[in-house]
Structures are given as structure tokens and as C-alpha cells.
């Protein structure tokens, strides 16, 4: 008995449909690569324009009218101080909120509203937070355009997303750990403090790092708060040789410095802006990488 090996081959309309489907793979792949392509192209353009300006002098000089003498010294210090203060303000409140929602909140309409409210706050445009900071912290509390006012504004902005990330982290802690601790006689809070929080720490860290990386690039909210200024001194709130600095000093940040250089017409300042972007992107991408490493490392 002869078995004939025969492959089924479509013809006519069916063949056409199959061909279209096969071609669609490449069209869709090309579309999916557009985003990545743009990212690479922009990276290339920036490095081409700005890499020549990167030097120790660029990092340690104050801003200047002369493009070739201008640097990131005051804006980098400003960014560091405002972000550090933001984390100190936002982290306890965000983690506290997440614990309350996940562990203590009664199941009622108020809790539902708190959750809904957080989701909506995460979608409020940053410039609205800037207007809030201007009216409340700068004017009403009289902080002026200071590091403190900027940090309060940014912390209100990043609290919602940090809460959502922390909630996620707390929810991932296995119930067996919680039950074990409670069964041994620990109180609810002891269980949270000794068992739930340590387990949730990597997730919370990832969340706060991503939030800080967003705050590091924030420009509009801080311009509203008044941080678009010329700073030719070092922000320093630790005791130094010539006295104490203060969180109530004026400040500026790296993204605002980039904005400042971008809107100037001279091409030399464009190079400065590109160099500033390289520094900012290295900082932001390092934070993202750190978050990814922590997440992978502690994944179970």
C-alpha cells in the first residue's frame, strides 16, 4: 500500500488570507520597533550634541551667562536636597497609608473612597500640584520658593503612586506568615512590624525608587513653586565652615536648568542642554535599573 505524502496547500482566497496574515507579522513587528527606534535615535542625537560638554568642570561650575563656563553644580545640589527631603516626607506617609488600607481599614464606603481618591490623585497633572504648592506652601505657610516648599509639593505628588506600589507589596506577603505570627500570640501591629513589613520591603523600595525617579525629572511643578531661579551658591543644610545652610534657601534643579538652556536661542546653550540631559538620563536610568534589580533579586 503506497502512502502518498501530501501537504495541504491552500489556494485562492484562503491562500491570500494566509499570505496577508504572514505579512502582518512583519508590519506589526516594525510598528513595535518604532518606539525602541525613537529611543535609540534620541539617545544618539543627545550624545552627539552633548557628550563634548561632559567634564568635571561642567559638573562643578555654577550656571553662567557664558555657555562654555556654565555647569550643573547648583542644580545638581538642589535636586539632591529636594529629592532627599521629598523621600523623608513621602515614604512614612505613603507606607502608613498602605498599611492602613491593607491591614486596618474597615470595609465601608469611606475606605472605597480613599482608594478611589488615590487612583485619581495619581492622575492629577503635575502642574496642578505646582499650583497647590504655590498657594499653600510658598504663599500660605510662607516658605517662599524654598527646598522645603519644593519637597512638600513633590511628596504630595509621589505619595499616591508610592501608596499603590506599597499596597501591592503588602498584599504579596503570604498569609501563612501573618497567621503564624498571630497564632504565636503576637499582636496585629507586632505581626505587621516584624513580619509583614520586612517581607514587603523590596516591593516598597522599588515603588519609592520609581517615584523618586519621576520626581527627579519633574519640571513644571517646581517651576510653579518658583525654582526657576539663578542660584550661585551651594545648597547645604549641614553645618559647614561658614555656618548652617537651610532647607528654606532658594534652589533650582537639573531639569529646570535643562529647560533654562533649551529655551535660549544660542547653539552653545543647546549643547549644555544636551549634556544636562545626559546627566539626568544617567541618573534616572540608574534609579530604574536599581528598582529592576531589587525586584528581580527578591522575586519568589
Amino acid at each position: 500500500m503506497a502512502v502518498q505524502a501530501e501537504t495541504l496547500r491552500a489556494t485562492g482566497r484562503v491562500a491570500r488570507r494566509q499570505l496577508v496574515s504572514r505579512l502582518s507579522r512583519w508590519v506589526l513587528l516594525a510598528s513595535a520597533l518604532i518606539g525602541v527606534g525613537i529611543l535609540l535615535y534620541l539617545g544618539y542625537e543627545t550624545v552627539k550634541e552633548g557628550a563634548g560638554r561632559i567634564s568635571i568642570d561642567f559638573l562643578t561650575s555654577y550656571p553662567s551667562r557664558k555657555a562654555e563656563q556654565a555647569g550643573l553644580r547648583s542644580s545638581a545640589l538642589g535636586s539632591a536636597w529636594v529629592l532627599g527631603t521629598t523621600v523623608l516626607l513621602a515614604l512614612p506617609v505613603a507606607v502608613g497609608t498602605a498599611i492602613w488600607i491593607e491591614e486596618f481599614a474597615p470595609r465601608n464606603k469611606l475606605t472605597t473612597f480613599v482608594k478611589l481618591n488615590l487612583a485619581n490623585l495619581a492622575g492629577v497633572p503635575s502642574i496642578i500640584y505646582g499650583v497647590l504648592g504655590l498657594a499653600i506652601f510658598v504663599r500660605y505657610f510662607g516658605m517662599g520658593p524654598s527646598i522645603m516648599a519644593g519637597a512638600f509639593t513633590l511628596s504630595l505628588m509621589i505619595i499616591p503612586m508610592t501608596v499603590i506600589a506599597s499596597q501591592e507589596a503588602i498584599r504579596q506577603v503570604p498569609p501563612s506568615i501573618r497567621d503564624g505570627s498571630l497564632a504565636l500570640g503576637a499582636t496585629h501591629w507586632q505581626t505587621i512590624w516584624h513580619h509583614v513589613l520586612p517581607q514587603a520591603t523590596p516591593g516598597i523600595m522599588t515603588g519609592i525608587i520609581l517615584a523618586v525617579s519621576r520626581a527627579a525629572g519633574e519640571t513644571a511643578a517646581l517651576i510653579m513653586v518658583g525654582a526657576f531661579t539663578f542660584i550661585a551658591f551651594d545648597n547645604n543644610s549641614l553645618p559647614v565652615a561658614n555656618g548652617w545652610g537651610s532647607l528654606l534657601d532658594d534652589f533650582t534643579t537639573i531639569p529646570i536648568q535643562i529647560y533654562n538652556w533649551t529655551i535660549r536661542p544660542q547653539p552653545e546653550f543647546r549643547q549644555n542642554a544636551a549634556a544636562g540631559i545626559i546627566v539626568l538620563m544617567v541618573a534616572v536610568l540608574s534609579l530604574n535599573l536599581l528598582a529592576a534589580i531589587i525586584r528581580e533579586r527578591f522575586r519568589r
Binding site: 484562503v14 496577508v20 496574515s21 502582518s24 507579522r25 508590519v27 506589526l28 513587528l29 510598528s31 513595535a32 520597533l33 518604532i34 518606539g35 525602541v36 525613537i38 529611543l39 534620541l42 506617609v93 502608613g96 497609608t97 498599611i99 492602613w100 481599614a105 480613599v114 478611589l116 481618591n117 485619581n120 490623585l121 492622575g123 492629577v124 497633572p125 503635575s126 502642574i127 496642578i128 505646582g130 499650583v131 497647590l132 498657594a135 499653600i136 505619595i159 499616591p160 501591629w189 512590624w193 527627579a216 525629572g217 519640571t219 513644571a220 517651576i223 510653579m224 526657576f228 535643562i258 529647560y259 533649551t262 529655551i263 543647546r270 542642554a273 539626568l280 534616572v284 536610568l285 529592576a292
Partner: protein
């Protein structure tokens, strides 16, 4: 040799416990402190509303509703002053329209590729790379809109009379900014479409493309709509790209190559020039801010509603 354990006296025990207040805190106190933390987010919303409403009410003490909503010119800085919000809304609408037109086809194609076509390995490289776009600070995109899109692309393509500040350069970078939002949320929606639906279609002889377009996309529609609404909310609220690249000339047009001003662009302009408190310019900041807040809130609520609908259907 173990040292014999000595029992702690009550006072010593108390002192030891007090040294570690976080470990042995009173449950009621803890609960109150945590509740206070949660109240911060409620207070934030309340403050936003109070701050915006107070100055907006004061703004409408000087400018009538009819002028705000019926006048077509926004000219707050020169006399005769006029405060017709539509020029700013049109500016925002302009960049929303063109950025969506650019981002939507690419974003959906990316989502379909990642969800229906890509091998797990390709996906594990492409998806994080795409999400990296979401982490780029918008001031960086603004720099590219001005220096790369306008100078290297739009002027060579459309001629040298393209204004240096134009809506299309801003829209192009806004499209890049929202690409991850559209692609990643739509992809989530497509991946959660049940396998049975796909296999039923394959069983009837449909090709991969037909399954994607006629089964998966319609089934994931509410998730896709949610991603579009979220993207719109992000474009409406984005400030730096439009402030730097689109210009600061209010203009009632949807033409992509004209210089315009958006609501956020105007707000930043007021923020940059220290408008004295109590002036009509300072108050107009809050009137525009209220409009912006309401618009983004509506889009965000819409997105939440569609996401909820999607979850109901398939989970």
C-alpha cells in the same frame, strides 16, 4: 557555660519595652497614626479643590461666565484684556488630536504584536524597552521637539516657513510619551482575553491576523478605550513639551503647523513671570487650573470605569 538567666523586674521590663517604641506600640495609637497617614491623601484632594475654587470664584467676580465661555480671544496680558478659554482649550485639543493620531496606530500595533505574535523572549526584551520611554522626563522630550522634530524633520519636509514653535512638533513628542501607556495597557487587556475565544476562531479556520483583529481586539475593547482615555488625560496635563515646543500664542485652530498655547502652557507662563497675588492674571491661573483639573478628572474617571468593566467581563 551559660550565665544563669535572671528574671527582669517589672520596672526593667517596662524600661526595655519603652526603648523600642515601634515594636511595642499601643495598637490604638498605631491605628490612629496610620489613619492620619491615610487622611493625608484625602486632605490633598480637599486642598486642591479649595485652592482652585477660592481663586476661581474670585476670578469670576471680575470676569463674567459669559466672557470666559463665550469670548473667543484669550488675551490676559494686554489691554483690552479678554478671557475666552476656548483658545486655550483649542490649543490643548490640537495637541491631543494630533498626538493620538500618531500614537494610536503604532501603540495598538505594538500591543497586538506583543500579545498575539511575539515569542516570550522577544516580548521580554521589547516590553521593558518600551516602558523605558515612559520613564523619560518630559523636559527631555521637549528638548527633542524643539531641536530635532522642528529643525531636522518638519522644516526639511514642510518647508522653511514652518514656525519654530508649532503644535505638530509638540504632538510628535507627546505621541512618543503616550506610546507606552497605550501599548502596555492595551496589551494587558488583550492578554487577559480568554484562550477559548482565540481557539474557537482558529478552529473555524481564521488566520492569526483575523483572530487578532476580529476576536481579540473587540474582546479587549474596553481596556483599549481605557488606555486611550488615560493617554488623553496625560497629554492634557503635560506641560513642558507644549510650553517649550508649541509656543505661547493662543490660537483657535486645529491646524498642526501653527503656533498655539495650551491650558498648561499658559499656566506655566504665569508661573514663570511672578504674577502678583490679587491681580487678574494670578487669578486666571486658578481659573485655567480648575478647567484643566475637571477635564483630566473626567478622562481619568472614564478610564477607571472602562477598566472596571473589562475586569468584570473576564475575571
Amino acid at each position: 557555660m551559660a550565665t544563669p538567666a535572671r528574671e527582669l523586674t517589672g520596672a526593667e521590663l517596662g524600661a526595655a519595652l519603652r526603648k523600642r517604641p515601634l515594636r511595642h506600640a499601643n495598637e490604638a495609637v498605631v491605628k490612629a497614626v496610620l489613619g492620619a497617614c491615610a487622611a493625608v491623601s484625602l486632605a490633598t484632594t480637599a486642598l486642591i479643590i479649595v485652592v482652585l475654587a477660592r481663586e476661581t470664584v474670585s476670578f469670576f467676580g471680575e470676569v463674567s461666565f459669559a466672557d470666559f465661555f463665550l469670548d473667543t480671544a484669550w488675551q490676559p496680558l494686554f489691554r483690552p484684556e479678554s478671557f475666552g478659554i476656548w483658545e486655550l482649550v483649542a490649543g490643548t485639543g490640537n495637541v491631543v488630536f494630533w498626538s493620538l493620531l500618531l500614537a494610536l496606530p503604532v501603540g495598538l500595533a505594538t500591543a497586538i504584536y506583543l500579545s498575539e505574535y511575539a515569542a516570550p523572549r522577544t516580548r521580554s526584551i521589547l516590553k521593558p524597552a518600551l516602558e523605558a520611554l515612559a520613564g523619560v522626563p518630559t523636559v527631555v522630550y521637549a528638548y527633542f521637539a524643539l531641536n530635532v522634530v522642528t529643525l531636522d524633520i518638519l522644516r526639511p519636509v514642510f518647508g522653511q516657513d514652518v514656525p519654530i514653535f508649532n503644535a505638530l512638533s509638540a504632538s510628535t513628542m507627546l505621541a512618543v510619551m503616550i506610546l507606552p501607556t497605550i501599548a502596555s495597557i492595551s496589551e494587558d487587556a488583550m492578554t487577559s482575553v480568554p484562550r477559548d475565544l482565540r481557539e474557537a476562531a482558529y478552529g473555524l479556520g481564521a488566520t492569526r491576523l483575523e483572530v487578532s483583529l476580529r476576536v481579540v481586539v473587540p474582546a479587549a475593547l474596553s481596556g483599549i478605550i481605557a488606555s486611550i482615555l488615560l493617554a488623553i488625560a496625560r497629554v492634557v496635563g503635560e506641560t513642558m513639551i507644549v510650553a517649550i515646543a508649541a509656543g505661547s500664542t493662543p490660537n483657535l485652530t486645529l491646524w498642526p503647523l501653527s503656533t498655539i498655547q495650551t491650558m498648561t502652557g499658559y499656566m506655566l507662563q504665569v508661573g514663570l513671570g511672578d504674577a502678583a497675588r490679587g491681580t487678574i492674571q494670578y487669578k486666571s491661573l486658578f481659573a485655567v487650573g480648575s478647567t484643566l483639573f475637571v477635564i483630566t478628572l473626567l478622562f481619568n474617571i472614564g478610564a477607571t470605569w472602562f477598566v472596571g468593566r473589562f475586569r468584570e467581563e473576564y475575571e
